[in-house]
Amino acid sequence: MSYVGLILHNLRSRFLRSSVTAAAVAIGVAAVVALSVLTYSLQQTAVSIMETGRADFTVAQFGASDILNGSIDSTDVAGIKKTKGVDSAVGVYIATANLGASQPFFLEIGIAPADQAPFGVTLSRGRSYAPTAPNEIMLGYRAARHFGAEIGTVLKIEERRFKVVGIYTTGNAIGDDGAMFPLPTLQSWHSKPGLVTLVFVRVAPNTSIRAVRHRVDANHPQLTTMQSLTEFGRADRNLVLIRAAQTGGSLLALIIGASGVMNTALLSFYERIREFGLLRSVGWTRRRLCALVIGEAVVVAFFGAALGVLAGFVAVRGLMRLPQLVGVFHPAYESAIFGRALGFAFAMALLGALYPALKAARLVPLDALRKE
């Protein structure tokens, strides 16, 4: 029998207890996986919108609770355009519309026709709308497919009717699932004349993006520049709050999970005092005994983590069906989530098993052997 074989044998011979411990780990891991996927996906959704315009960096209102609801004045857009090193700066108004259960998060992008090319829009059919047309729109090709719309189709969006004059692609799934409006039309519809949500900036060739960002940040303290997912996550207060909730939820799950592990490990300890005493009396060192208890917990954690990841996926499928999240929550999985889940499971196992392991190691062999 090998040492690992002994660990597995001990777990098998106490199958129910091992299963309960693994379940405690699995519940914690599932919570972490679901929360992580939810946060990451919401962030990805928001970033996808940001990435609809192919830019070197994006400018948003500083300190906005939700960056996609921020406001940037047209004078600021003009100022950014004039900044040294800026090749183009496209001001875009972004809104969402609820078009029922199938399209609860329909993306509306207000953009001037002249800015469509720098924004990365390619017209695949029809034409662009007139700059101030009150009832003309372009549909993303995915949205057109979804609505079965063609050039000339009249689409009803929140009680207003718009004629589809063009079909476009952006190379971005969320962008292609929405519609583009003349900028003033969308601004006045949402009672925000002269305001845009984001500014998409491209820098001139052979120019340092960092230097241009620095200039924009310096010249417009009420605005913030973002280049990465992380920066977006930091700038958007809602995402900061979601991430804080995720961290808090994960910590809570860690504490609850570790308590579960400790509870079963302690019960197991009291049940096995004689066994530990015997092992010490035949020459097992404290360290070896400690390693046995922690080793058992780590193996349980491994199985718990595997179960937890599966349960987490099931939970994510459940979250997708929540009315509040339909259309907003497109599950996105990053490899770090699995690493985090595994690390979390091992942390739970170590935290939960450490105290019982130390208790086992500190046993006086003779006293332990006398326990009934």
Binding site: M1, S2, Y3, L6, H9, N10, S13, R14, R274, E275, L278, L279, R280, S281, V282, G283, W284, T285, R286, R288, P365, L366, L369
Partner: protein
């Protein structure tokens, strides 16, 4: 087959047991369990320890096995100061083999695995541990019982597993608490022969026993009464030894 290599120890202290003025009192007890015990056991000696219940026999074995510490006095075995905490695990694993009166087998492990776990932390690899466990079980007449868990073994079989386990790491010193207590005649003969083999190879054996066959095989019989050594009879005094073996008043 179970003998240790007698050339393994080159120092003069190999297998020596030396106790000087050993005292032990358990917490809450008015009287000392051991009071001023002096004892020297030479390598190659089989010493039987006898005495009435509560005389301190098991206490003495526990102190020798470094499972407990004396309140006063020195205990040196094979050059190891037993009162030291440091190195006790290695000492229990390598120097002494212990046969418990209540067998103390791990209930969820097979007979062979009960022996193998004792060999963790030694130089033996997994296959060697397995082979050694089977060799020892064969020697105590338990061939074919390797995979049986203790609950499927009789009391005598469990005792033989416990005896085999004590030999697992080829200890220089064997400490046994009633090693033949649950055995039938044939098994007792087998175990006594093993124990004699051990001392014949230069090992030391201190056994708490009231079994006449083991007493007859002993080189010395030491009597413990109320925590004190009250008799120490050597085998060359055959008549006295027989008297001691059949003495009344012993448990």
């Amino acid at each position: 087959m179970l003998r240790r290599d007698s050339s393994a120890h080159t120092t003069g202290s190999a297998g020596c047991i030396s106790l000087h003025d050993v005292h032990k009192r358990y917490r809450g007890e008015p009287d000392e369990a051991l009071c001023g015990v002096d004892l020297e056991v030479a390598p190659g000696e089989l010493v039987a320890l006898v005495g009435p219940s509560g005389s301190g026999k098991s206490t003495l074995l526990h102190l020798l096995a470094a499972l407990d510490r004396p309140d006063h006095g020195t205990i040196v075995i094979d050059g190891f100061d037993v009162a030291r905490r440091i190195g006790a695990g290695r000492y229990r694993r390598g120097t002494v083999g212990l046969v418990f009166q209540l067998h103390n087998l791990l209930p969820n492990l097979s007979a062979a695995a009960n022996l193998e776990v004792v060999m963790f932390g030694t130089h033996r690899r997994r296959q060697e541990r397995r082979a050694r466990a089977r060799e020892l079980l064969d020697a105590v007449g338990l061939a074919g019982k390797y995979k049986d868990v203790p609950t499927r073994l009789s009391g005598g079989e469990r005792q033989r597993v416990a005896v085999a386990r004590a030999f697992a790491n080829e200890p220089q010193v064997l400490l046994a608490d009633e090693p033949t207590g649950s055995l039938d005649d044939a098994s007792t003969a087998t175990v006594v022969a093993l124990l004699r083999d051990h001392v014949a190879a230069g090992g030391t054996l201190l056994a708490v026993t009231h079994d006449s066959r083991l007493l007859a095989a002993a080189d010395r019989v030491v009597t413990l009464t109320a925590g004190r050594i009250t008799g120490d009879i050597r085998k060359n005094d055959a008549v006295t030894l027989r008297v001691a073996a059949g003495a009344g008043g012993l448990e």
